[in-house]
């Protein structure tokens, strides 16, 4: 057997691929669901924290900054493992799926809060003053004047961060989540052939390449002149 044949046999084994691709597709769907949950809950929680922080209540702000810094400092895998293996000792036993969702959701919350907050503070004080001087309240000023401007500044770093954290769904394979990597790894150990990993990589590309391209498009669309 030539080197080339051995390479194809190892990474592109048609028989193995045919046998395991439905598992990978199943993992793909699971990953999509997990990623969607993380993105929606993480971004909403981050935005809510940033809005609360805008109220300027000192004690609340300290609490927010503390939580945010903790989840930005901890490696996501450590949080996942802590929740999955740690919580059962206090009689809460989240599944691997839920552990991964909560962990990455918290991480995205922390990073997106900082990004939203930076966006809000980047809006000049004069915008607040102009709006308030016409009788708009705090919430109305935030909703109609400040947030629309803040979100535009926010979108490029936010898309990058969201993509980076969502890719962390692969960490779920450590706690028995049957997402793409989890499916691919078990297929590898069952078939004694790494071809399912090739399929897995293809599935990740299929999922994240459009997201990355979409992020680029959103960035260019929101790069607007003042």
């Amino acid at each position: 057997m030539s080197n080339w044949d051995r390479f194809v046999e190892t990474f592109f084994n048609a028989r193995v691929m045919a046998r395991y691709w439905p598992d990978i597709v199943e993992g793909l769907w699971l990953t999509i669901g997990l990623a969607a949950l993380i993105v929606v809950t993480g971004l909403i929680a981050g935005l809510v924290l940033a809005l609360v922080r805008a109220l300027g209540v000192r004690v609340l702000n300290w609490a927010i900054i503390f939580v945010v810094d903790v989840f930005r400092a901890l490696p996501p895998l450590v949080i996942i493992v802590l929740i999955y293996f740690g919580l059962p000792s206090i009689d809460i036993a989240p599944s691997g799926f839920v552990s991964t969702w909560i962990s990455l959701g918290l991480v995205l919350m922390a990073f997106s809060e900082e990004i939203f907050w930076a966006g809000i503070t980047a809006v000049p004080r004069g915008q607040w003053e102009a709006a308030r001087s016409t009788g708009l309240g705090f919430g109305e000023t935030l909703a109609y004047v400040v947030l629309p401007q803040a979100l535009r500044i926010t979108i490029p770093p936010l898309t990058n961060r969201t993509i980076a954290i969502t890719k962390g769904t692969a960490l779920g394979s450590v706690v028995a989540v049957t997402e793409i990597l989890g499916q691919a790894s078990s297929a590898v150990s069952n078939s004694y052939n790494p071809s399912p990993l090739t399929l897995g990589a293809a599935a990740y590309l299929l999922l994240f390449l459009p997201v990355v391209v979409f992020g680029r498009w959103v960035e260019s669309k929101f790069a607007w002149r003042r």
Binding site: G126, T134, V145
Partner: protein
């Protein structure tokens, strides 16, 4: 004859920023239809005084009553009161993500409770008053500084304020654009608007102001008719300041 109640009554205003005592007991009464000019050196507290009049700045002590509303009373609906007090800023502060019409109609819709159609009609009329009827759909970024400041004025007058506050409305403008903004201010004056203007546009003050107030170090040093203050000020500090800005 009964003296009508002043429309702006600020009495005994003190303002501290931490250790800094910025206003040291200022009284400012403005009669209806009066145009009061406030001048003074940088840091004398002109902006701070103006911002106390709509409570963008919280006075440390004193009282502010505008159009009969006690602004410092906790029960006062500040957002309601502020609609009667227009404010124009040195840096325009237009909302960059909205059109000129959007800028003018936001408070009409969200605070004054007008429908979009009503607000648009009022907004178009306000833009026409500042000579920008044809710029309603432009974003601030597509307008010159003078046009932006006129949109900002339209944003205030659309709410039909009882008094307008101007904080150096022309100092951020190129000289050739100053005239268009002063023109709008003059027509506002002619329509009977009560105005308090912080500005060093002496020519405009001479032509349009009823009274000039000179501030220094957080106090009103003297006030009087423009000719009086500019030609024969009673205080040495006023004389020095007037001489200084006339040399420019």
């Amino acid at each position: 004859m009964i003296e009508p109640r002043p429309i702006v009554e600020a009495r005994g205003i003190h303002k501290h920023f931490a250790a800094l005592h910025v206003l040291k007991g200022v009284d400012l009464l403005v009669a209806e239809r009066e145009l009061v000019f406030v001048i003074g050196p940088s840091g004398s507290g002109k902006s701070t005084l103006l911002r106390c009049l709509n409570r963008l700045e919280e006075p440390s002590s004193g009282s502010v009553v505008v159009d009969g509303i006690d602004l410092l009373d906790r029960r006062t609906d500040l957002n309601h009161a502020r609609q009667r007090i227009g404010m124009v800023f040195q840096s325009f502060n237009l909302y960059p993500h909205m059109t000129a019409l959007g800028n003018v109609t936001l408070a009409l819709r969200k605070v004054a409770g007008k429908s979009r159609a009503e607000a648009d009609e009022i907004g178009h009329a306000a833009l026409a008053r500042v000579g920008l009827a044809d710029r309603a759909d432009h974003r601030p970024g597509q307008l010159s500084g003078g046009q932006q400041q006129r949109v900002a004025i339209a944003r205030s007058i659309a709410l039909e304020p009882r008094v307008m506050l101007f904080d150096e409305p022309t100092s951020a403008l190129d000289p050739e654009l100053v005239g268009s903004v002063l023109g709008v201010m003059r027509s506002l004056r002619e329509s009977g608007m009560t105005m308090v203007v912080v500005s060093h546009e002496m020519g405009f003050a001479r032509a349009a102001a009823d009274r000039v107030v000179f501030m220094d170090h957080g106090l009103i040093v003297e006030q009087g008719a423009p000719a009086e203050i500019f030609e024969s000020p009673a205080h040495e500090r006023t004389r020095a300041f007037i001489g200084q800005i006339q040399r420019h």
